[in-house]
């Protein structure tokens, strides 16, 4: 009996001794999960879904390297305007909870970098995944001599032409088919577009002649550029505005809504869905859209094939005879928050997601263009006729300057357009208000000529 008790005690003591070792062993083998947050804007969720997929590949690599780390990407899509999206990021940053990866427009890197919200990503520029990115796109993520983001996608803006309406106006198929080329050659100008649109409305073959987006965006930068409104002196970080051309551009919008009345006065009061539906329903002859508009229409119930039949796509015709037609691109980029605690993992994740397969998958699905040469050589992209047919437009593209002032500048310009379109002001009045507003905002950094 005495011996039995003693054995139990030995077993008990042995277990007691082994407990810390077992706990330690479990701790050693426990995989540490690291969550990386990634936020994007809009419905194109592949921007962050690609990161989730890339994390799986990264985890495989980490396993092979024998690291007990598992990366989990927590994606979030912000639904709202660009201004609110920027505020959302700043708020999270101030709460010391900034997302590790912040998808944004390239033009935002100036203020993001200047205020140390994001970190430099020069090393990614040199990485294998990004070595065949179109050179122009790198230029869009450069600020102050450094690279602050990696391109995620690129797009082109264009004018969607409802060919059914043109046919109703009596245009032959040949006339319709050669229209984009006439735009390229400058034979079909913005005035011509207005006149045709006016004719369509007059002849009641279309409810509206020309529609544009309801909220502020790159299209309006494109519009003022079409009228040679401003140039940006990068060396002095100064916007030089040609007052006459600015008046012309404001007059253009005034004419559309008030003189010709081929654009709804309350366009900027409508919702995206309303505008999209008007386009889908064939209510307008021309629409200032972009390639991703197709994605939105499909999301809103339109049939891709029907859209391809109904619309043709052309560069924005030049407003000044002799000038070239134009388009604008607004590359979205991945930036990395300076608050990230996992810089190495984040950069590795971005390196993986830079692979052309992820990029072309996103591009084809959401109707964007790939960012690199290998992207345009993927089967998925080659098979997409629409995207291929508009690739040429990239040669006419332009970008917003990477300067913080353009965020405020475009907002003021958009307010002026709202004022003239709504007939709240004459173009001349809107010009004066705009000039005051710009001078007050930028001081000597804006010059009127």
């Amino acid at each position: 009996m005495q011996i039995k008790v003693s054995r139990y005690w030995v077993a008990f003591l042995f277990m007691l001794i082994m407990i810390p070792f077992v706990i330690k062993f479990k701790t050693l083998n426990k995989v540490k999960e690291i969550t990386l947050s990634a936020v994007t804007i809009g419905i194109e969720s592949t921007r962050t879904e690609n990161l989730v997929s890339a994390a799986e590949k990264l985890n495989e690599e980490l396993r092979r390297e024998g690291k007990n780390i598992k990366v989990r990407v927590e994606p979030y899509s912000f639904m709202g305007g660009w201004e609110d999206y920027a505020k959302y990021f700043i708020k999270r940053f101030e709460e010391n909870n900034a997302p590790d990866i912040y998808v944004t427009g390239h033009e935002n890197i100036a203020w993001l970098a200047e205020k140390n919200y994001i970190i430099k990503l020069d090393m990614l520029k040199e990485s294998k995944a990004y070595n065949d990115v179109f050179g122009t796109l790198w230029k869009s993520v450069m600020w102050n001599g450094s690279t602050w983001g990696v391109p995620q996608d690129v797009e082109v803006a264009f004018v969607m032409v409802n060919v059914n309406i043109l046919r109703k106006l009596g245009w032959s198929e040949s006339d319709i088919n050669t229209l984009p080329n006439k735009v390229i050659k400058g034979d079909f100008t913005l005035d011509d577009m207005t006149l045709v649109a006016n004719e369509a409305v007059d002849k009641k073959v279309a409810k509206w002649g020309i529609l544009h987006r309801p909220v502020n965006g790159q299209m309006f930068y494109l519009a003022q550029k079409n009228f040679d409104v401003q140039v940006f002196d990068e060396s002095k970080s100064t916007i030089i505005i040609n007052r006459d051309n600015l008046l012309n551009s404001l007059s253009y919008f005034y004419q559309l809504t008030n003189d010709y009345q081929i654009t709804p006065k309350d366009t900027t009061l409508k919702s995206w869905e309303d505008i999209n539906q008007m386009v889908i329903d064939g209510e307008t002859l021309f629409y200032y859209g972009a390639i991703w508009s197709i994605y939105e229409y499909i999301k809103q119930g339109a049939e891709y094939q029907e859209l391809m039949k109904q619309f043709d796509f052309m560069l924005v015709p030049t407003a000044i005879k002799g000038n070239k037609p134009l388009t604008i691109s607004h590359p979205l980029i991945y930036t990395v928050s300076s608050q990230t605690e996992n810089k190495e993992l984040v950069t590795r994740l971005l390196e993986i997601v830079g692979d052309s397969n992820y990029q072309s998958k996103h591009a084809v699905k959401t109707y964007h263009l790939p960012i690199n040469k290998s992207g345009i050589q993927t089967t998925e992209f080659i098979d997409n006729q629409f995207l291929n047919s508009v690739m040429y437009m990239l040669d006419y593209t332009t970008f917003l300057p990477n300067d913080e002032k353009y965020v405020a500048y475009s907002k003021i310009y958009f307010e002026a357009i709202q004022n003239v379109e709504g007939n709240d002001m004459l173009p001349e009045q809107a010009l004066i208000i705009m000039e005051r507003h710009l001078r007050k905002t930028f001081g000597t950094k804006i010059i009127f000529k």
Binding site: F134, G135, T136, W138, K139, I184, K185, G186, D228, V231, K324, P325, L326, K373, I376, M391, L394, D395, Y396, T397, T398, F399
Partner: protein, 591 residues
């Protein structure tokens, strides 16, 4: 066999070794310098070629960066694409674009930029339309045919000169970087390029720059013959090639740029470089001569320091060979070995002198004793038998004292005949007891002898017949050979520390102070001046005893005399028993 002196041999050998060493070193240094110089020259040449090449590459890479910057200008790209499809003959660049790339196209730009779309040249504010049809220009045809991305061309010579403009042409590409949309041609003026090269190429080193076809772009050669030979052999030039022209050797190296495909050739005159080595060689000769002189001087003096004391030593040995061992003083040397040799020789001569002297003295003493004994020598067996017979007869006749006297006399003879030179104190005391017994009978018993001896000293060694001459002196001179009832001889023998002391005291007539002084001085001089000892005949017994004791116990004086007229004489014999000479072979070596 001809014998040479150490002095000559040392100087001669030293000179030969030094000469051979210097010659070998000189040759080694020459070849070391030669190969080192060649290596350094080749290394320097390659580094210089790399340096120049890197600068030329950088020069063109900077232009490439400018071209890339221009190519990324989206406004220019749109402009080119737009105008390409218009097929215009004359094209002016938009002012906006001109402003954006003004740095490259302004009239102060070092390299003049010309822009082209696919059809024609684009005119800016700072240039005019070149009077050429684009399709007929060589660079355009070559560039588009081979679909180069960038290419360096050399145009036709400028009118009335041999200088050619270097054109660096770049393709300008569409957004997706797949097709040409235009060209950027940077014209580099020969003067500008030469000014650039002048800052990078040291005028002392001839440099030749050739394009991929072997045409000269720039030459810094003054020797046109050498230049022509290099160009003719350019494809055969490998690393460190040597070309010989008019007895002048040239080291040739070249470097071909992977960027420009240009070959840069450098030539360095080996003769010029070797002239430094030769000058250095000549400069060494006086130094070598100086070293030789110094060496001769040093070796001469060093050998002299060795040879001089050896010579003195040899002279001393020669004198010693002739039997004169008195010449043991030699000159000292600062060289340890020589000094030790001299000292050892001196010690050896001193020791030899000592041994010779000692041997000589001992022999003399022995001879003297032997002569004395010989004078009295009678056949001992006859003498002892006769004495025994007399003793027996005396006992038979009742003359016991006569019998005893006869026995004592026999003892004395027996003692004298002993062959040993050294005996114990006990044996000597027994002898003198017998001797004094006989003398006492001669004095009619009018002699009192008092013995006060410690047995502990009986074993110590002294020369045979040490005490007997002293007692003989006492009886003969102290008591005048006449017995008297007051005659007393007191003999004390004892040990005081290591000293054995034996005193013989009498109450005889004594000696004057002068006599005592002379005798004591004589005893002291005997051991240091043997000739003196030999020459003096007085007190021979005392001096003999003293001398032999001194020799045995390695001392200067063993006897000490104290005496006053009519007050007797005390003779003290003392010696340190520990100082006994080891080489004295005695049977009773107790000490």
């Amino acid at each position: 066999m001809k014998k040479t002196s150490i002095h000559t041999r040392i100087v001669k050998n030293q000179l030969i070794v030094l000469l051979v060493t210097i010659i070998v070193m000189y040759i080694n240094i020459y070849f070391l310098l030669y190969f080192s110089l060649m290596n350094q020259t080749s290394k320097y040449q390659k580094e210089e070629l790399n340096y120049i090449n890197n600068h030329i590459d950088t020069y063109f890479e900077n232009i490439e960066n400018q071209a890339n910057f221009i190519n990324l200008n989206q406004e220019l790209r749109s402009f080119l694409v737009y105008h390409n499809q218009l097929d215009e003959n004359k094209l002016f660049l938009d002012q906006t674009i001109q402003n954006e790339i003004s740095f490259f196209i302004n009239s102060n730009a070092p390299n003049k930029l010309h822009l082209f779309n696919l059809n024609t040249q684009i005119i800016t504010d700072n240039n005019i339309q070149l009077n050429t049809n684009l399709n007929e220009t060589f660079w355009y045809k070559d560039f588009t045919m081979n679909q180069y991305k960038n290419r360096i061309y050399r145009n036709s010579p400028i009118e009335n000169t041999n200088e050619r403009i270097i054109s660096y042409v770049f393709g300008l590409y569409d957004f997706t970087e797949t097709s040409y949309i235009g060209f950027a041609k940077f014209d580099i003026s020969p003067n500008v390029f030469k000014e650039f090269l002048d800052t990078k190429i040291a005028s002392s080193n001839p440099i030749l720059i050739l394009d991929e076809h072997g045409n000269i772009i720039s030459s810094y050669f003054k020797d046109l013959f050498l230049e022509a030979q290099i160009i003719s052999e350019i494809s055969d030039i490998t690393a460190n090639k040597r070309i010989k022209i008019n007895n002048n050797n040239f080291l040739i190296n070249k470097h071909t740029s992977a960027y420009t495909n240009w070959t840069i050739v450098s030539s360095i005159s080996i003769n010029d470089k070797l002239s430094y080595v030769n000058s250095f060689g000549l400069m060494l000769i006086p130094i070598i001569l100086f070293i030789l002189l110094i060496n001769i001087f040093v070796s001469y003096n060093t050998s002299l320091k060795i040879v001089k004391p050896i010579k003195i030593l040899i002279e001393s040995i020669k004198i010693a060979e002739k039997g004169d061992l008195s010449h043991s003083e030699i000159s000292t040397s600062e060289l340890r070995e020589i000094s030790e040799l001299s000292t050892s020789y001196s010690n050896m001569i001193t020791e030899i002198n000592y041994l010779v002297e000692k041997n000589h003295k001992m022999n003399l003493l022995r001879i003297e004793s032997q002569l004395t004994a010989l004078q009295q020598k009678i056949d001992p067996h006859f003498l002892f038998n006769t004495l025994e017979l007399i003793s027996s007869k005396a006992i038979i006749e009742g003359a016991n004292s006569t019998s005893i006297m006869t026995q004592k006399l026999g003892n004395l003879f027996r003692y004298n005949l002993k062959t040993k030179d050294f005996i114990t104190i006990k044996e000597e005391l027994n002898y003198i007891k017998d001797y004094l017994y006989l003398n006492k009978i001669g004095f009619d018993e009018e002699l009192t002898v008092l013995y006060n001896t410690e047995e502990s000293i009986f074993g110590y060694i002294i020369p045979k017949l040490t005490l007997q001459p002293i007692l003989e002196n006492t009886i003969k001179h102290g008591f005048g050979g006449v017995g008297c009832s007051d005659n007393i001889i007191s003999i004390d023998a004892y040990k005081d520390g290591n000293d054995i002391i034996i005193t013989i005291k009498d109450n005889g007539i004594g000696m004057t102070a002068q006599m005592v002084s002379e005798l004591n001085a004589s005893l002291k001089s005997d051991i240091n001046n043997f000739q003196y000892f030999i020459n003096r005949k007085e007190h021979i017994g005392l001096r003999n005893a003293n001398a032999r004791l001194c020799l045995l116990y390695n001392m200067e004086k063993a006897l000490f005399i104290q005496s006053s007229p009519n007050k007797g004489t005390t003779i003290t014999l003392s010696f340190d028993c520990n100082k006994k000479r080891r080489e004295i072979d005695v049977q009773n070596n107790d000490c």
